[in-house]
């Protein structure tokens, strides 16, 4: 069983939902990346999504764009990102680690090389934002052969026919994009998300994460009630952007603790 599967299974047994924070490797600087990852785990992260910096992040809003720009200024690209992930893995064998990025850096270093590097780093899954299932058949096949999960995005505009196509290739979990827009956009309509999630669930037993518009504890709680995982990205990155080096780790912890306690409130009180 993959680390991602095992994590979802164990959370399900505890009637809990996964909290999945995202941030970009090398932001605010590479010396902080592993420290941030450890702080995220300590303060409640069940999995981590680590962003691969890219010069042209077309699906990201301004907050994550700026994170990519800061990381690139620090000369952090795809190979350094994988190195930092490997460093984290040395002392943490439990927490699933997912890389999220765009196709070009992966193709630039070579798909086979990329897969061999992340396998050695013991990374668990990959989200390639601009690889729809039609364009990534070989990539996904190779990831599968190496027991690395391929996580796909589903959007509010994905119809049932495409949903089947995506589910057919996806492993690990599915990532529902809760709004029409880029990362960190306007607030989400929880009722609409709830209906979509219900529909997706009729097609698959894969766990379902929801993200792209989770900005506070209240939204996180609502999303947790209707899904298996809450993905929070721009809000974390904003904290990184707005904190000085001294307060950064504490600020991230505080934010995470607040969100963590809100999403698992129900299960704690009922147990």
């Amino acid at each position: 069983m993959s680390r991602i599967q095992a994590t979802f299974k164990s959370l399900k047994n505890k009637k809990q939902k996964a909290l999945v924070p995202f941030f970009t490797a090398g932001d605010p600087h590479p010396g902080k990346t592993v420290e941030i990852m450890n702080a995220l785990v300590d303060s409640g992260a069940d999995m981590i999504e680590l962003g691969i910096p890219f010069s042209d992040p077309m699906a990201d809003g301004p907050v994550i764009q700026r994170a990519s720009e800061r990381a690139l200024k620090n000369s952090v690209g795809i190979t350094t990102t994988i190195k930092l992930a490997a460093e984290f893995r040395k002392n943490n064998k439990m927490t699933p680690l997912i890389l999220m990025g765009y196709a070009n850096p992966i193709e630039a270093i070579g798909i086979d090389n990329f897969i061999s590097l992340i396998k050695n780093a013991d990374i668990d899954g990959v989200i390639t934002v601009d690889y729809p299932p039609e364009e990534s058949v070989q990539f996904v096949k190779k990831l599968k052969e190496n027991n690395i999960d391929s996580i796909f995005l589903i959007s509010p505009t994905t119809d049932d026919k495409r949903l089947k196509l995506i589910i057919n290739q996806a492993t690990g979990f599915l990532y529902y994009v809760s709004l029409k827009g880029v990362t960190g956009s306007a607030n989400i309509d929880i009722k609409e998300v709830s209906e979509k999630v219900k529909n997706i669930k009729t097609f698959t037993d894969l766990p379902l994460g929801v993200g792209f518009g989770v900005r506070d504890a209240k939204t996180a709680k609502e999303v947790a009630e209707i899904s298996d995982a809450v993905v929070i990205g721009s809000r974390i990155v904003q904290e990184i952007e707005n904190s000085n080096d001294k307060d950064l780790i504490n600020n991230i912890r505080n934010l995470m603790v607040e969100i963590k306690s809100s999403i698992n409130k129900n299960s704690e009180t009922s147990e």
Partner: protein, 400 residues
Amino acid sequence: MQAYDLPDNFGHFGQFGGTFVAETLIEALDELRDMYEKYKNDPEFLAEFNHDLKHFVGRPSPIYFAERLTKKIGGAKIYLKREDLNHTGAHKVNNTVGQALLAKKMGKPRVIAETGAGQHGVATATIAARLGLECVVYMGSEDVKRQSPNVYRMKLLGATVIPVESGSKTLKDALNEALRDWVTNVSNTFYIIGTVAGPHPYPMMVRDFNSVVGKECKVQMPELENKQPDVIVACVGGGSNAMGIFYPYIDDKSVKLVGVEAAGDGIETGKHAAPLTSNSPIGVLHGNRTYLMQNSEGQIIETHSVSAGLDYPGVGPEHSWLKDSGRASYVGITDKEALAAFHNLCLVEGIIPALETSHALAHAEKIAAKMSPDEVVLVNLSGRGDKDINTVADISGISI
């Protein structure tokens, strides 16, 4: 022999092209592809398109024999396809008329566009005004500063110009930002891409709308010379004017097709915008796979050209295919060579060409000199150079 029929249903030209976008954009692209398929052969749509090309744009554009230039060069006859005479002064308007008409058919009241130098932005704002559509143009903040007359033109035409502050603050970033707008406002918005790049169906659709250029040439050339040209030369940034004139000739192998990229300070300096000529690696940007200027880690690198319209790190995927298949060849022309050709055409023919087009002219001069007087070189004179006079004056150390 099988007729050229690319791209395939998913927008692939061999290994190039395709649909590399986030899931959030897939439905919009599917809708666009379906609607384009529905209307592209619809007699009523085509009648409206052709009506606007004739009465609003001023088509057909003439082919002009550059007699004094030919004499000066002393070789093949040089002909110019006068896209500079179109309304708004460049080939760009052919495509915007087509896409804006499609937007109207699809019931989208808002159009958006990206622009580098401002030509595509102006062409989009123009047709949006003509059709009564709301228009928003994304433009890198560096380009907004460099191209203030075009920014004002767009505003006069009722468009909103949004400066883009992300990344390198140029054309590629404007394209990213327009894609972000589109994904957010997809229900009421049509994205009018200005070149043969982007995800499927854009490279095909923009090519088709611009192919009116090559179709006219196929009729006009025999009237003038009793034959088709021996060589067609066109500049290539994204490559829309080149695809427009090349496409109808792809199956006519007797006609050589040459694309001219911006070699900037010289290919060897690294300061250029010539992914094909410099043998850049293949990559994925703006929704398609193509040759792409990038570093070893896949980050897109900044380009350089005196001509803002050629200043793009990628190239339309069909050009990558035409290069690999050998059907077209691609060369680089430096800033210096392009400027010399610019001045030459001004003085010898009384035509001020766009700096983009001047790259094609410079190469045409080079090859015509080595060809015989009974041979014909046809240059796509893709745009007029009024927009560039400040740039040229600056370089010449003249203040105007």
